[in-house]
């Protein structure tokens, strides 16, 4: 296919002769038998040809192998191998994307699957410390203090955890993404915080009580526990 060439210009140029297979220029194109129609007019061929060949016009010419007028390749072997590589790559790319999308229907995590605005779940998280004597002490929106030999040491959940609305304790928030992801991140954040409060020697582990309400559903409660700071791990499932 030759683009941007007016029919009149095309007809009077040698380009038409090349397409008809009657031009001597076509004999210069390697791999093409002169005198037969269907010579390949590839982008790699045109720049080598003198401008005068095209009637002096500025032409944009590109390969369109779907078009029978320029369908026979002089570099069949190389381009065919490249074409198969491209086809394989495209197939693999599309297959991977489809796999990730379909997979998300069977797993709680919707990452890489393009589930836009997947849900509208509101939650309120409350942080509780479980002391060595078994008592549970609710923190003040994630803040608490412990008495040590050197004085009072204050801890705050927000000093450890930021973003994804994981830092908002004690008030209702709409979860970003899916609520399952929020739970996963809360669990990891609990363990993270539990590992980073060395001065607090009285807390055995941390609990996060999450009240949540999925769209069109009733309020439910879920309790997450950090790994035990004494070494043992306790887990709580959804109530």
């Amino acid at each position: 296919m030759v683009a941007c060439v007016t029919p009149a210009l095309y007809a009077r140029s040698d380009l038409a002769e090349i397409e008809r297979g009657t031009s001597r220029i076509a004999e210069l194109v390697p791999g093409r038998r002169p005198g037969k129609p269907g010579g390949r007019l590839g982008a790699e061929v045109y720049p080598a040809l003198p401008k005068a060949c095209f009637g002096g016009a500025n032409l944009i010419c590109w390969r369109d192998p779907m078009n029978s007028m320029s369908s026979v390749s002089n570099t069949v072997g190389a381009s065919r191998g490249k074409a198969w590589l491209i086809l394989l790559f495209c197939a693999a790319y599309v297959a991977f994307q489809v796999f990730m999308i379909v997979r998300a229907h069977y797993v709680p995590c919707k990452q890489f699957a393009f589930w836009m605005f997947p849900e509208s779940t509101y939650f309120k998280a409350t942080l509780t410390r479980v002391l060595a004597d078994g008592r549970e002490v609710i923190t003040s929106d994630g803040a608490w203090a412990v008495q040590t030999g050197t004085g009072k040491v204050e801890y705050d959940w927000q000093d450890f955890v930021q973003s994804y609305r994981l830092d908002s304790l004690g008030r209702w928030e709409r979860s970003k993404g899916t609520f399952d992801d929020t739970i996963k991140y809360f669990q990891a954040a609990l363990d993270y915080v539990a590992d980073r409060m060395p001065e607090d020697r009285v807390t055995k582990h941390l609990l996060l009580t999450i009240d949540y309400e999925r769209a069109g559903d009733a309020v439910k409660t879920l309790v997450l526990a950090s790994k035990a700071r004494s070494g043992e791990r306790q887990e709580h499932g959804p109530n």
Partner: protein, 452 residues
Amino acid sequence: MGPIKRLTAWANKEGPVLGLALFRIVVGLMALRYLVGFARDYAGWGFYGNYFFLPYTGSIPQPSEAQYVALLIAGAITGAMLIIGYHTRVAAMATFLMVTYHFSLNQIWHRHNRYFLVLCLFVLCLAPSGRALSFDARRLKLRPIGPLWTCFLIKVQMTLIYLASAVSKTIDSAWRSGDVLGGRGLEMTWARWAPGFLLDWISPETAVQFITAQAVASEYLVAIFLWFRKTRRLAIWWGILFHGYIEAQYSVITFSYLTLATCFVFADLKCGQKTWIYSSRSVFSVEVAKIIGWLDWLFQIRLEAYSGTKQRFVDRDGTPYGGMMGWIMLGSNLPIFFPVCYPLSWLRFITNWGYCRFSIISAPAEPGRSCKPKWIVWWAILYLAFLTPVSITGQFQNLTDAMRFWDLPWFFVLMCLVAGTYRHALMREVPARAPRREEEVTPTLEPTPAAH
């Protein structure tokens, strides 16, 4: 031609890469936006490694604070290089690697729009996007032609995103019932903004159900209609409204912009297929023609002048439009006016309104001068200089709704500069028409919806 030959021919197919180049510019801008957003987080909260984070896998090496800052800066520079098209392939690969590495550092940073940005950058690494609208194209005198298979990947990716999103909503009972959008405050929005008579007629609950159905239907329709020439412009127009509303209401960071950028790839752009014929005697018309040169970001409109008094728009199929319809058709082919002018352009199907029956003689009148490429470089430097203090100073930590759009004027200026810089070269590639007399067309000839 057998199916195997057709497949290999498809893989080798080459064509104009103007759409890819425009896509590259938007992706580069979004990469900048992505990195600047994290620079803002860094300035506000400090190094992410000092807080809770969750890598996808322990095998991903975590950077030190200095390395992290260097990553953001280097990414911004390569993103700017990608926009202006300087060593485009290297810039695309470097930006892809840096954005992808950054994205992989923390699961909590996962957003669909960021993943889409990574995929866009990945495809750009393989695409001949530097063959147009780039410093490389000027420097190496490249023609805006290249392999088209990467365009196919971008289109398929976009369609998969729409379909994945639409299917996930369709099978979710909470979505179908409208509870999900209701939970996102749409009921309150309707109750607050809808006029009283409309509120009496359509309750907030009904409105949310209607909007839910519309949202799901839009995703299906845009996914499909973008592929067909006859419905493409309608799909693009609807997509602009759809994503414009989502961006204004919810802020999806880069997603709306990337989605609309894929329209450049879908649009199958070829330069100078339409003509604006203006009066060379009218100062107003001459000035408008100059402005068209800056606003024609898709390089669709050739400028021609004649000695008469009226102006005329000649569509791709040769159909001429004059009067108000000529202006409407001109507007519907300039991206900035497209959302308003496109629906108005449908009026021409009703009564042949604006259809010209008289021929005129015109001659090419492309402006001889063009904007210099260094202006784009200066813009990039100013933009980065603007980003740094504006994004990182304290009062900009929490961007309000209005301030989320503070960089849009910069995008606008960039696109105008790109149009002004490369217009001359691209239009020169199109064979110049000799002065000609338009053939008198029969009034019974009806333009088709896909005519332009």
